[in-house]
C-alpha cells in the first residue's frame, strides 16, 4: 500500500475512506504460530467465530470452513475456546515473515 506524504493527508487526521481497515492485513502480525482447522473434528458450535477478535473465521453457508490468514493474528483464542472432544483448531508453528513496510 502506498503511503501518503504529509502534504497528501486530509486535514485533521480525517480518514475519508470509511471501512478501509480491510486494507490492513493484520495477518502480518502473527509471530510464529497459526491456528490450523481440522474440519472432521468440528461440531459447528461457532465458538471460534464468536471469540475471534479479528473476524478471521471463514464461514461458508452455515458452516465454519477454516481460517482467513490475511487477518488472523495468531492470538490462539479460537484454539483455546474450541470445545470439541478432539480439538478442531490447534496452534501450529509457522515460519515468521516480516510485516510488509513497517518502519521506514
Amino acid at each position: 500500500m502506498k503511503k501518503e506524504t504529509w502534504k497528501e493527508l486530509t486535514i485533521g487526521t480525517i480518514n475519508l475512506e470509511a471501512g478501509n481497515s480491510v486494507q490492513n492485513l493484520t495477518g502480518t502480525w502473527r509471530s510464529g504460530h497459526k491456528p490450523e482447522f481440522i474440519e472432521e473434528h468440528c461440531i459447528q458450535c461457532f465458538f471460534c467465530w464468536l471469540y475471534c477478535p479479528h473476524f478471521a473465521i471463514l464461514v461458508e453457508g452455515d458452516e465454519v470452513k477454516g481460517i482467513d490468514y490475511d487477518y488472523c493474528t495468531g492470538c490462539g483464542m479460537c484454539a483455546e475456546e474450541c470445545p470439541s472432544k478432539e480439538k478442531s483448531i490447534v496452534m501450529v508453528k509457522e515460519e515468521v515473515k516480516l510485516a510488509e513496510g513497517g518502519t521506514e
Binding site: 503511503k3 493527508l9 486530509t10 487526521t13 521506514e104
Partner: protein, 393 residues
C-alpha cells in the same frame, strides 16, 4: 454605530459570544472566568442566543464536548481559567491535532500550589505547546475585539486551528471598563457564516475522525498539523487589518509604544502593558529614550517581526507573568532572546518575572527596570540576567 457599554472583561467575552452566537457553548465555571459562563447561561435563558449551551461535569468534559461538537460541524466556544485549563490539557492537544477551530476565553489565573485565584499567565503558558493559537489582551476592549477576531482566525480554511484569548484574571476579567460594542449585525457579518470541513453530521459522506496512527502515519499527521499554525500569521494580520477598517481599531502581532528613537525597551504582555505605558510616559518626560513592545500574539510567535523591532536597541527587558522552572528564563524571554540570536548587533536581553498570583506591578517597578536597562545600555554589561519585581527578597 457602535454603542458604549460599561462591562467587565468577562461580560465583554459573553457579549461577543451573544453577537457571534456559536452553535455550541460548553463550559464549566471556574474563578475568575465564571462570569463568562454565567452570563452566557443568562443570555440562553433569556432567549438571546440560539446555540446549545452545555454544562458538563468538568473542564475535561467541557473541552471534550467542544471537540465532539466541532467535529460534528458546529461553531464552538468555551471559557475557563487556571486549574480548569490544566484539566483540559490532554483535550487541548486533541482539539489542535484534529484541526478544530474552537475558540476559548481564558481569564488568566495562577496555578496551584499554593492555591491562588488571582491573575498570572501560568495557565496559558503551560499550554503553549498544545498547538493552540494564543492571543493576549491588555484591557476589556481588546478582549472583546480579540475574541471576535479569534473566530475568523481559527476558522480560516488555511488555519483551522483552535484559538485561545487571554485576559488577565480579576485585573481585566472583573474590572469595569467603558468599551465600544459594535452592532450585532456588523459582528455577524464580520465573522460570517461558519463553513465546517468534513462534518460528522454530513451523513452522505462517511468519515473517521481521530483514527489510530502507528509509526507509519503519526509523524506525517503531526507535520501536517504544523501547517495550520504556520499559515496563521498572514491570516492574523489580514483579520486585524479588516477589523480596523470596519470598526476603527486595527490589530497586528504586537503594539509598539513610543518606540521611535528608543534605545531601550520593555517587552510585556496583557494588562501590565497599560501600567507600563504610564511609566514610559513619565520616563520619556524625564528624557529617557525608552519604549514598550506589547506582544498580542504569543503563538505563533512573531519572531522575525519582533526581532526587527528590537534589533537596533541597546538593552531590552522581557517581563514574564509566569515561570518556567529549570529553563533558560521564563517563556516570553526565551522566545524574544532566541528571535534575536541571528542579528548582529543585537541588544542585551534580560528577564524579570513579575505579578505571580496577582501581585501588583506599579509604575515604580517599571522605573526600576528602566534604571537597570540604562545601566546595561551604558556599560554594555549584564550583571544579572534574571530578576523578580515587587518580591520580598
Amino acid at each position: 454605530m457602535s454603542t458604549l457599554k460599561t462591562l467587565n472583561g468577562n461580560q465583554t467575552i459573553a457579549e461577543a459570544v451573544r453577537q457571534v452566537d456559536p452553535d455550541v457553548m460548553a463550559a464549566y465555571p471556574i474563578t475568575p472566568s465564571t462570569a463568562i459562563v454565567e452570563t452566557i447561561a443568562k443570555f440562553k435563558a433569556d432567549g438571546l442566543i440560539s446555540g446549545e449551551f452545555v454544562c458538563p461535569e468538568s473542564e475535561h468534559s467541557a473541552m471534550s464536548v467542544c471537540i465532539g461538537a466541532a467535529s460534528a460541524g458546529g461553531r464552538v466556544m468555551t471559557a475557563t481559567a487556571s486549574q480548569g485549563l490544566a484539566l483540559m490539557w490532554e483535550m487541548l492537544f486533541i482539539a489542535a491535532g484534529l484541526r478544530l477551530p474552537i475558540v476559548a476565553g481564558i481569564a488568566n489565573r495562577a496555578l496551584s500550589a499554593p492555591i491562588n485565584i488571582h491573575g498570572d499567565h501560568s495557565d496559558t503558558m503551560g499550554a503553549r505547546d498544545s498547538g493552540w493559537i494564543q492571543i493576549y489582551s491588555e484591557n476589556c476592549q481588546e478582549a472583546y475585539d480579540n475574541f471576535i477576531q479569534a473566530f475568523r482566525i481559527a476558522e480560516h480554511l488555511d488555519v483551522r486551528t483552535p484559538v485561545l484569548v487571554g485576559l488577565d484574571g480579576f485585573i481585566i476579567s472583573h474590572s469595569m471598563e467603558v468599551i465600544q460594542v459594535e452592532e450585532d449585525e456588523k459582528i455577524k457579518e464580520f465573522v460570517g457564516e461558519y463553513q465546517p470541513v468534513y462534518p460528522l453530521l454530513d451523513t452522505s459522506r462517511k468519515i473517521t475522525v481521530g483514527p489510530l496512527d502507528f509509526t507509519d502515519y503519526y509523524f506525517e499527521h503531526k507535520r501536517s498539523q504544523m501547517e495550520g499554525i504556520e499559515n496563521a500569521p498572514g491570516v492574523i494580520q489580514q483579520v486585524g487589518k479588516e477589523y480596523g477598517e470596519k470598526f476603527g481599531r486595527p490589530y497586528g502581532f504586537f503594539e509598539e509604544y513610543r518606540m521611535e528613537d528608543a534605545e531601550t525597551c520593555i517587552v510585556v504582555m496583557s494588562s501590565a502593558a497599560g501600567t507600563c505605558k504610564d511609566a514610559i510616559d513619565e520616563l520619556r518626560n524625564e528624557g529617557k529614550k525608552i519604549g514598550l513592545l506589547k506582544p498580542r500574539i504569543f503563538r505563533p510567535f512573531p519572531d522575525k517581526e519582533i526581532a526587527e523591532a528590537l534589533k537596533g536597541l541597546k538593552a531590552v527587558a522581557v517581563l514574564d507573568r509566569s515561570t518556567c522552572p529549570g529553563a533558560f528564563g521564563a517563556p516570553l524571554f526565551t522566545e524574544v532572546r532566541n528571535a534575536l540570536y541571528d542579528y548582529d548587533p543585537r541588544p542585551k536581553v534580560v528577564n524579570y518575572v513579575y505579578g505571580l498570583g496577582g501581585r501588583d506591578i506599579m509604575v515604580e517597578h517599571f522605573k526600576e527596570v528602566a534604571e537597570k536597562l540604562d545601566k546595561i545600555a551604558e556599560t554594555g554589561k549584564v550583571e544579572e540576567m534574571y530578576g523578580y519585581l515587587n518580591l520580598r527578597e
